[in-house]
Symmetry: none
DNA sequence: GTGGTCTAGACCACG
DNA sequence: GTGGTCTAGACCACT
């Protein structure tokens, strides 16, 4: 299903959130595409339905999916200007800054950080 | 003391850890300098001694301080090559990469990230 | 439970650590096997939950178990090459050397030490 | 003086005890040789006189030194059969066995342990 | 007075 | 019900 590993400290619902949002933001899941039902995800991944529901709820709050009662959940249409994306983008930048400051504090050079970014960019293309 | 406003979200011992490690890594606290006693920090910050001890223990595990029972806790000598620093640096880079990937996934341009790094670098100088 | 008689001298959490790590390293506890909940261990052994948690935390730090909050703690898969094991093995050899040097300094012959090792080896088989 | 390093977890009086007993057992300090006065050791090593006194007291209890009130402390004559040595030897063997068991539990082969012993023996000759 | 250990008991996020 | 965090307060070994 959404292959995540339970270990690793972070709560399951958060990991699942990250994974699905990646799929949506990268376009691997198209707008209006239906997400698998909560019960199915829970069963396939061997986790609690409550956990999946929490994930879906969080995705909906952040404007990445919308749910149609009694039908299911669907991927939102995301334009570059949509509020949802803007808000998440802002959050991601804040987090990025924090980790950059932290790395610099630990003696990592700015040059190294620049290189890491370029290397990530290359891999994704 | 270590002037931080305890905020919700992250555990107290972690916030305190971050603050003290900043002071050590930046050189604001010199090698072999004595840290204030656990009880004193706890009293001044209005938190429990156990919480402070957890912080000190974590700092010791990561090789940033060393504790001499019945004497006090002291800042470690950190050379650029020390294992402690290398390990922490590695961790900070991993975290940096994750947040960079996350930001890029959210549509942040590599250019923006480069600029953020430069802006951080400038502020610190 | 983990049947040990708590003795003076060494801290409880350490004795418990030793006992559990023996079970894991010897294979008496299989990978991914669930450890009894902290509270249960504490109750059965008549000690404080915090003390047990300290043990579990230490086991996790050393890579012998992994904890999934709200689910439980589980035995790690340990391969001969795993970092966790390698690190612990290294530590155990260092300690062994120290005690061997100490014994020799006290006039114990190398022959006696060799015999002791063989005798231990026999018992375990 | 007796060069030990304060760090390293173990209490100072214990480290100092180990160091001095090594010197005595190895013959580096001859029988009836006078040990430096407590105050001098404390001053030179930058530690508390009480700590040194505790060490000397422990050495005396274990029959390694004897103290002449108002004169000082002196190294005992140790024959191979002396009770003091026998008792310490016994203790060192117990400790050796424990560490050997521990190493074996961590997957160290008996062969490796045998080799370590031989290597120690060679260095000392 | 210092750090280390331990108890008793509480609350929270998570599943 | 589970692990994680935190408080309040105690005792101990060591300096």
């Amino acid at each position: 299903m959404f292959s995540i590993n339970i270990q690793g400290g972070k709560p399951i619902y958060e990991q699942l959130y990250t994974r699905i949002s990646e799929l949506i933001l990268s376009g691997s899941m198209a707008p209006d595409e239906k997400l698998p039902p909560i019960r199915e995800v829970a069963k396939d991944m061997g986790i609690n339905p409550n956990t999946v529901q929490k994930t879906y709820q969080l995705l909906e709050q952040n404007g990445l999916i919308y749910s149609v009662p009694a039908k299911g959940s669907y991927v939102c249409k995301l334009t570059e200007e949509s509020d949802a994306l803007a808000s998440l983008r802002k959050k991601s930048i804040t987090q990025f800054k924090e980790s950059a400051i932290n790395a610099i504090n630990h003696g990592v050079s700015a040059k190294t950080l620049h290189e890491e970014i370029d290397s990530i960019k290359e891999k994704q293309q």
